[in-house]
Symmetry: C2
Subunit: 302 residues, 2 copies
């Protein structure tokens, strides 16, 4: 079986520090671990690498030769790790994103913040629009879109699936009672995202059965943060994406209404014209989203 590379690295450090104790201190690894790991390495290799008394250390002949190879190997690997860190720091340019309204604050901004923490030399422009942008005309690198992609000339990489939640503040529900069926909703004070002129359709599913209800909001705005603030204040019931209201739900500032009736899940995707000719920054951001979006949106609640 191949030797434990971590043990080999410890061996190299012990040699370089001329002492188990010094290597242990320097690396922040317990001395018992260093001792055991190096002993196990020798056993695995079938060779004594170090001759040691409690106060002295000497490389054996084979140990010296093995150390030389391993030292060079580790230098290469450590250079690669350093390169990763430096590459992340050196990447610069501008990233132009189009994002739908409502998600910027709680999702996109944290994501972009984290991305810029990793790549400080990148500037980002975010266009919050409900339109499906024209990538060339609008000079957009990458769009974040909710729902299915209808334009087959574009590429969509799904990032996260989530659902919306019907929520209300405890104070509101105490006063007005909680609805038991979607048809009760029009009798409540609704706070909605859209609905500039018309009523808003809510499609709720329970045990495979869907019920669509039209509600007219007493307040409508296309900003989920604003909607959440108002809902927490007890002004009504609202439909809010779980990734935005999850923390309020956890903390009890909001309560899920009619939990048996659920909105269908939806997908947020990164959309771009083609995988070919994608600039480095765009590709990096896309990869970054894939890697980090779960951590940055812990309230998916599918």
């Amino acid at each position: 079986m191949s030797p434990d590379l971590n043990a080999m690295a410890l061996f190299v450090k012990v040699v370089e520090h001329k002492s188990f104790t010094a290597a242990s201190r320097r690396l922040g690894v317990p001395i018992s671990t260093v001792s055991r790991k190096v002993s196990e390495l020798e056993k695995t290799l079938g060779v004594r690498l170090l001759e040691r008394s409690t106060r002295h250390l000497r490389l054996t002949e084979l140990g010296q030769a093995y150390y030389a190879y391993c030292h060079r190997g580790l230098e290469e690997i450590e250079t690669g790790t350093l390169m990763l860190n430096e590459r992340q720091a050196e990447i610069s340019g501008t990233l132009r994103l189009s994002v739908p309204p409502g998600l910027a604050d709680r999702l996109i901004v944290p994501l972009v913040s984290a991305f810029q923490a990793a790549y400080p030399a990148v500037t980002v422009r975010i266009l919050i629009t409900e339109r499906n942008v024209d990538f060339i005309q609008d000079a957009v690198d990458l769009a974040l879109r909710v729902g299915e992609l209808k334009d087959s000339s574009l590429v969509a990489r799904p990032l996260i699936r989530y659902r919306h939640v019907l929520v209300g503040a405890p104070v509101y529900l105490d006063r007005f009672g909680a609805p038991g069926h979607p048809r009760d909703l029009p009798g409540h004070r609704m706070i909605t995202f859209g609905g500039w002129f018309d009523a808003v359709s809510l499609k709720l599913i329970n045990n495979g059965r869907m019920h669509t209800v039209h509600v007219e909001g007493v307040l409508a705005l296309n900003d989920y943060t604003g909607i959440q603030n108002v809902t927490e204040a007890g002004q009504g019931i609202a439909e809010i994406p779980s990734i935005i209201c999850g923390e309020a739900l956890r903390d009890g500032r909001l309560v899920e209404v009619m939990p048996a009736w659920r909105f269908p899940s939806t997908t947020l995707s990164a959309v771009y014209p083609s995988n070919r000719n994608l600039s480095r920054i765009v590709r990096l951001f896309k990869d970054f989203c894939i890697e980090h979006i779960d951590a940055l949106s812990p309230f998916v609640d599918i």
Copy 2:
């Protein structure tokens, strides 16, 4: 914290095999382990190295660069490991040892056998002598000696500490009874190692008190294996090194006599003229003894 080098090696193998499953099969590592380790590596580095669906794998830009460094580093380390194996195979020449009588069969021969298994091209000459050899005159590379080194111009590297045990066969002890005090021993049939003309002195210790008893063997020979065979046959009581009789004790063929009275421990050392100018083979054998003598003599019983 620094990345897990074993995880990095798995990443390199996944890239080279273009598949988690292929790398898992090739390395004999469970696929769940490979998957987790590579994911953890990415998390530790803060970088996505691979973009993957269940059927396709693609290195990210940073992943490609990192892979190149790691691949070179691993090649270096693997060359070092191979070098160790080859070095062990390529070493040739003759090793001349001087060993005291009594230990050759059960200890030195297994040790030398194991050494020659590791270094097949080395020939070994063993001089069994009770004399303190002259390294130059007798052309001895290394001597194995029991007890303290009296010649300060030589170097002694202790290999193992052990003690002698007073033993008898159950059939003998049933018939003649077990002695309860060292002074009882002259009344028993003793089988001794030395004592060509004179009685043999046995120095036994109990609770820090030493008692010296002189016994005349009914049989004397300077071969512990022979002594053990005769003792097992029920012909008497003998003093035998633990590293020789330990297996017989474990198996019940011999029983320790007066276990509260113990011989002082002694040391077997590798003795050689100087650390400087020690040939490679001698140094290798010495290192080999240090590494392996414990495993080859499990009945130290200090």
